[in-house]
């Protein structure tokens, strides 16, 4: 098919598609008129039953925690896929150092490393209370490590991130979630049951397994994103082929 025909066929099919979509939308509840009942049941239950004030995270890490386990493994699988595709099986030693950035930028970035890291950790541990949680916190922690890359040189970034420990930590993050689920089986209740005492509403250690799961997701996401960026940067960092 040449580009012209492709576009023509697409416009015809696309018009039908838009018609189908809008015909369905016409019969959806009007905008801003959500009728429930699933969401309302969740909103009313989660504070009492789970001692969690952020309902979204209570759903993600408890009521529908099994979905999140699947999503976490999608993340895990894509990272394996990226490493499989892009990693050089025989990494070259030798790191190219880059001056480039001004001192001000470096200092600012180093200073913000600590802040960003703390912010990320805060998010991971307060998922059940306030907006945020393992997913968002994990990405923020990974960003903190990328700041090292900006601030310092590639060498220290590489020293921290290329370690095989990163891969182990990533797998630990993924398996900790599954293990939390399995632990429920040992005491005779279904997979992923939140069996740990729920604590006081509003406490950091409240909501039982939600806190553990949020932290494990944070670990997985943070290490995953660090591995991703390292994998992309690896070849450029090692300066392979330039000598």
């Amino acid at each position: 098919m040449n580009a012209k025909w492709r576009l023509r066929l697409f416009l015809v099919a696309g018009a039908v598609f838009l018609f189908l979509y809008l015909a369905a939308a016409k019969n959806l509840p009007a905008w801003g008129d959500y009728r429930g009942p699933y969401g309302d049941v969740m909103s009313s239950l989660s504070v009492y039953e789970r001692h969690a004030t952020d309902v979204v995270n209570a759903i993600d890490y408890d009521y529908r925690g099994f979905d999140t386990l699947g999503e976490e493994f999608i993340l895990f699988t894509s990272i394996i896929g990226v490493m499989l595709l892009l990693r050089d099986p025989k990494p070259k030693s030798g790191t190219k150092d880059e001056e480039g950035l001004s001192k001000t930028v470096k200092v600012t970035a180093t200073a913000s490393f600590g802040l960003t890291l703390i912010f990320g950790l805060y998010m991971c541990t307060h998922g059940q209370l306030t907006p945020g949680g393992g997913f968002q916190g994990g990405v923020i922690i990974a960003t903190a490590f990328l700041l090292i890359f900006v601030a310092q040189n590639m060498k220290s970034f590489k020293a921290i991130t290329s370690h095989p420990l990163m891969e182990v930590l990533e797998a630990v993050g993924a398996s900790l979630y599954a293990l939390t689920g399995l632990s429920a089986l040992l005491i005779g209740v279904p997979f992923l049951t939140n069996w740990i005492p729920l604590g006081t509403t509003g406490d950091v250690f409240s909501s039982g397994t939600i806190a553990i799961i949020s932290a494990s997701v944070g670990l997985e996401v943070a290490t995953g994103f660090i591995l991703l960026s390292y994998t992309y940067l690896e070849e450029i960092l090692s300066g392979k082929g330039e000598q």
Partner: protein, 89 residues
């Protein structure tokens, strides 16, 4: 509130189209980042702070960063290839 919401949605519709219409990939990274930010604003406006947070960190930062890293790697590869070609000649 309602007028603002409609305007924001229309802005999103337009900028979404702009992202796919931008043919230059480097410019597309910028438009994608801007588009991600707009979505995050919409999520905040529609009472979804959790999603807005992940959209800011992912849609506006991590995703464009991934594209940038991929482009950097491809450029690097081309440079290496060109250098090699010169050496052989």
């Amino acid at each position: 509130m309602k007028v603002a919401a409609v305007l924001l949605l229309l802005l999103i519709a337009v900028s979404g189209f702009m992202v796919v219409r931008t043919r230059d990939v480097t410019a597309q990274i910028l438009s994608l980042s801007f588009y991600g930010l707009l979505l995050a604003v919409m999520f905040f406006m529609f009472q979804a702070p959790d999603v807005a947070l992940s959209q800011i960190v992912v849609g506006a930062v991590a995703l464009p960063l991934m594209v940038m890293l991929a482009l950097a790697r491809m450029k690097h590869h081309e440079k290496v290839k060109a250098a090699r070609g010169k050496n052989e000649r």
